[in-house]
């Protein structure tokens, strides 16, 4: 284990990718992701990293190169943000359907229009249904650890993995973190292998037009139709929750860190009021929780570490003793409510205890999220016995508007 390093979140990500021995880096620069790819290109140029850097002309091509690399049996990596993620959207669905073990860091940033380079989660949320696993890191150490574990997860499940971390809040701030020794990573992460890798000895066309119905191929092997393959992707994505927990345990043996791969609760054991959030916002809430506890309120914060596959039963069970649940999020499903809030509400429906739910939208396009305003909104929700109609209670409340 290295001594503590003090560096930016983007450099933390690049160091993890170097340790993972990624073999092909294809990326197009976009704020605030740019320093990740700059650092990786420096490491390749200096010979500290043995990889091919493909300077592409767009994010669509970046993902296409990763698809090609993985199909050829080599470990790829890319990173992007915001509109860059949206530009590769078509290829994201392709990578998932083709079951390619690709890892990508998404440095979360608001989506244009209007242009914003600042942080929120709308980029990741908009790609929720692409068939990718979505991990959210809360600090620099989690960027390192989650990225390393993401390679293992992608390669075991053959489902691509997005590691999300907040633009600027994490990407450009400096924090201490540790990195494992290369030998430890090598023991944890075996050589890359893609089950359906291209092989000149056995020519075939991959992912050609696939009929609605199953068929017998030229060798009389039963081959699923489109719907069967998609069902398998869904089922195996659900199974990936368990695999992610197992990987976390393996990683703990190697590095001594981990233990909260799905949810990371803070002071939730006896909490009547539980805040749910993703990314650095969940860590910011720890200060809020401490202050509210000092005021005698039984409050906790539960960080959600993996958004897709959605760990619905784990979350619902963790919230069974809460009276109120406040979901704070930096993105929403326009015309309805916070995407995470909607998911949590639906996860709780089959369970006997359905706490009162509150939805808060914060920090879109980098709007400041003062800890004081979090403190006040949580406290108000805790102490006021609000008389609202069910329809009113289900509406998201926007924090920090300046209209």
């Amino acid at each position: 284990m290295s001594d503590a390093i003090i560096e930016s979140g983007n450099v933390a990500a690049a160091m993890a990718v170097q340790l993972a021995r990624a073999e092909v880096i294809a990326a197009y620069p976009i704020t605030p992701q740019t320093p990740v790819t700059e650092k990786l290109s420096e490491l390749i140029t200096s010979g500290e990293m043995d990889a091919e850097y493909v300077a592409v002309e767009s994010e669509h091509s970046a993902m296409a190169v990763c698809i090609g690399a993985a199909s050829a049996g080599v470990r790829p990596f890319t990173a992007t943000s915001s509109n860059g993620l949206l530009y590769m959207s078509e290829q994201l669905h392709w990578a998932a359907g083709a079951r390619l073990p690709i890892v990508m860091c998404v440095v979360n940033r608001g989506i244009g229009a209007p242009w914003s380079v600042w942080n929120d989660h709308q980029d990741a949320i908009s790609q929720r249904d692409a068939g990718w696993i979505q991990i959210f890191a809360k600090d620099h150490q989690e960027i390192v650890d989650s990225t390393l574990k993401a390679f293992r997860l992608a390669e075991l499940t053959h489902i691509p993995v997005m590691v999300n971390y907040d633009g600027y809040y994490l990407s450009h701030t400096y924090m201490p973190f540790e990195t494992p020794e290369p030998e430890q990573v090598d023991a944890f992460l075996p050589t890359f292998e893609y089950k359906h890798a291209l092989n000149p000895e056995r020519p075939e066309s991959l992912n050609t037009v696939t009929l609605p119905d199953a068929r017998r191929d030229v060798k009389s092997i039963q081959r699923g139709g489109y719907m069967d393959l998609r069902h398998n992707l869904h089922e195996e994505m659900r199974l990936a929750i368990k695999v992610w927990q197992e990987i976390d345990q393996e990683f703990q043996k190697v590095c001594g860190r981990g233990g909260a791969p799905i949810i990371d609760p803070y002071r939730c054991d006896d909490a009547d009021f539980v805040v749910v959030a993703m990314g650095s916002l969940a860590n910011q809430f720890r200060d809020v929780v401490d202050r509210l506890r000092d005021d005698g309120l039984k409050v906790g914060v539960l960080a959600l570490q993996i958004y897709r596959p959605f760990p619905n039963s784990i979350i619902a069970e963790a919230l069974q003793s809460a009276k109120h649940v406040m979901v704070y999020e930096k993105g929403l499903s326009y015309g309805y409510q916070g995407a995470l809030y909607g998911d949590i509400k639906s996860a709780l429906y089959p369970y006997p205890s359905r706490p009162c739910l509150h939805n808060f939208i914060v920090g879109l396009g980098g709007r400041g999220i003062p800890t004081e305003s979090l403190f006040q909104t949580v406290k108000t929700a805790c102490v006021q016995d609000e008389q609202m109609s069910p329809a009113q209670a289900d509406e998201p409340r926007w924090i920090g508007l300046q209209l």
């Binding site: 359907g97 083709a98 079951r99 390669e155 075991l156 499940t157 053959h158 075996p190 292998e193 089950k195 359906h196 056995r202 020519p203 075939e204 066309s205 991959l206 992912n207 050609t208 037009v209 696939t210 009929l211 119905d213 068929r215 017998r216 191929d217 030229v218 060798k219 081959r223 699923g224 489109y226 069967d228 393959l229 398998n232 992707l233 195996e236 199974l239 695999v243």
Partner: protein
Amino acid sequence: MPDPRFKILTSASTSGPGDAGRTGSWRVERPVIDMDRCIPAKTGKHACHLCWLYCPDNVVSKDLEPTIDLEYCKGCGICAQECPAQAIEMIPDADFIKGADRE
């Protein structure tokens, strides 16, 4: 190395009859070969075979008297177009199944 609990189903195809499903059901016209015009049939030599070469579904045999696997022939007519001896005519499939329909 994938986890053995995962099937990881993907779609792939190799060149051969039937790899795109029962494409014979798509057919509107079927190719019928006139063996009096067909070059290998007429000469008794393995020559030409352009229908075998061009068929996108690999359903034409490379015999002196070529046969067509109607299970998979989708009736595209490429063989008829390419045949240098105009030995292949595309005939409406309906002409062959009319009798069956009436029964």
